[in-house]
Symmetry: none
Subunit: 141 residues, 4 copies
Amino acid sequence: MGISLKKARVIVRKTLQAGRDMDLKPLSVIVVDAGGHVQAFEREDGASPGRFQIAQGKAYAAVMLGIPSSSIGNMAIERPHFGASLNAAFDGKVIPVAGGVLIKDRKGEIVGAVGVTGDTSDNDAAAALAGVQEAGLEGVA
Amino acid sequence: MGISLKKARVIVRKTLQAGRDMDLKPLSVIVVDAGGHVQAFEREDGASPGRFQIAQGKAYAAVMLGIPSSSIGNMAIERPHFGASLNAAFDGKVIPVAGGVLIKDRKGEIVGAVGVTGDTSDNDAAAALAGVQEAGLEGVA
Amino acid sequence: MGISLKKARVIVRKTLQAGRDMDLKPLSVIVVDAGGHVQAFEREDGASPGRFQIAQGKAYAAVMLGIPSSSIGNMAIERPHFGASLNAAFDGKVIPVAGGVLIKDRKGEIVGAVGVTGDTSDNDAAAALAGVQEAGLEGVA
Amino acid sequence: MGISLKKARVIVRKTLQAGRDMDLKPLSVIVVDAGGHVQAFEREDGASPGRFQIAQGKAYAAVMLGIPSSSIGNMAIERPHFGASLNAAFDGKVIPVAGGVLIKDRKGEIVGAVGVTGDTSDNDAAAALAGVQEAGLEGVA
C-alpha cells in the first residue's frame, strides 16, 4: 500500500512543524494510504474535537479521485450538483476543500495523501505540502 | 433483465478500446442491467480507487430514470433542489453527470446502461457511446 | 495498489471457469485491490441481481481484516456480538462468510482479494482459490 | 477534554513498544479524548487497512459508556439484544471486545481511552494497559 508508518510519522511531524513556523492555528493532520485508509493522525491541543473527520475527508477525497482536494473543490464550485453527488456517493466521507494533498513516490505513483485542517484551507494545504516535501516525497496540492 | 454477460463484456472492452483510440486518461467502465444492478466492471491501471462509485452512479442514474445521465445533469443544473432530492431518494447512488449511456436493443427497449469515468464527462460519454455501438447495440448519450 | 487489470481479468475468468468445471450454479466474481476497492467484476447469466453486494462484502471483509472471510465467519459464529459490530463498524459492507479469498504476490504481500457468490459458501471459496492459483498467484481461503 | 497530544503520543509509542516486547502481531493504536474523539492514531506496517475502525470502536465504546470495552463485551455476550442496540444507538461505532482501555488521571477522572487491535483481544488489552501505565497514567482494562 506504499506508505510506511515511519514515513507517515515524519509527514505528520513536519506538517505540524510547518504550521508552527507559519504561526497557524492548532492543526490536525492525517496520513492515509493509497486506498484511503488511515495510517497516522495527530490533533494538536486546542483543535476542536471534530477535526479528525475534516482532515480525513480531505485526504480521502484526494486519494479516491486521484487529484488534490483543492481541485475537487473547484469542481464542486463550478458544478454544485456534481459536488453534492460526490458527497452522497462516498457516504459523506468526501470534503472537497483545499488541504488534501496527494503524496507521490519517486516513480510518480500515488502512495497516499495528507489531510490538514485548522487554519484557512489554503494555509492548511501549504502546511501539508511543506510536510510532504520535508519528508522527501512529492506533494500535489 | 436483458443483457448477457457476454454482451456486457464486449461493451466494456470496446469502451476501453475507444478510450485508448481517443487517447483518454485511464477509464473505469461499468455495465448495469435494466434493474440498475452491476453486470460487469473493469478499472484500468492508473485509475483512482474511487472510480467504481462514480461509474456506477452515472449508469444507475441513467437506468433508474430512463434517460442518459447527461440529461439528469442538465435537470440538476436547472433545478438544484431536484438534483439534491434525487441524491437523497436514491441513497446517494446517483451521479448526474454525462457518461451514463442507455443501452437499447433492436426493439428499442432499454436493456441496461454503461457508466464511464476517468476523463472529461463529455469524453467519458463519447467512449461509452462508441463502446455500445461497436457491440452492435444502440446507445443513448 | 498491487493488482493489475490484466491479472484481475485472468482471476475472474479462471474462477468462472472453475465454477463451470465444478458444475456450480451461476457465479458472480469480484476482484478488489489491497485497499478493498473494486478492480473487476462479472456476474454470470442466471445469477440474481444482488450478487454484486455479496461478492464485494466477502472480498472487502478479507482485505480489511487481512484474513479470509471464512475465518471472519468463524469469529462471528463464536462471538456473535463481534460479528454484529464488524457489520456496523464497516457500514454494512462486510459479509463474514466463506468465499472471500486473499490474493498474495510472490513476496507474500496481500495485493487484494477475490469474492465469489452463487453456490454454497464452501464451493464459492473453492472456485475462488482455483481461480487465484491458475492465475499464478497464491490464494488464502 | 483532558489529554494532551504530547501525552497521547507517549501512550501510542509505549503501547506499540509493549506489542513488540510481547512479540504480538502488527498493532494499530488509537487514543481518544474524554469525548470519544480521535487525538492520535498509528497503524504499524503489516496491519490490515481496516484496523482504524476496530481500534476506534473499542476506545469509543469504553469512553462513551465509562467502562472498559472488555466489560461491554461481557454485557453483549450475556444480553445480545443490548449489544445489538448499542451498535444501533451509536451508529455502528462501538466494538464491544477487549482492547479498549480507559485512561484516568491522578484524580481518578477519565481523560480518554486507548484502543488496540491486531493480536488476540486479550493481548491487545494487555499492550494498551502497559502503554497507559508506562506513560504514567492509570489504565482500566
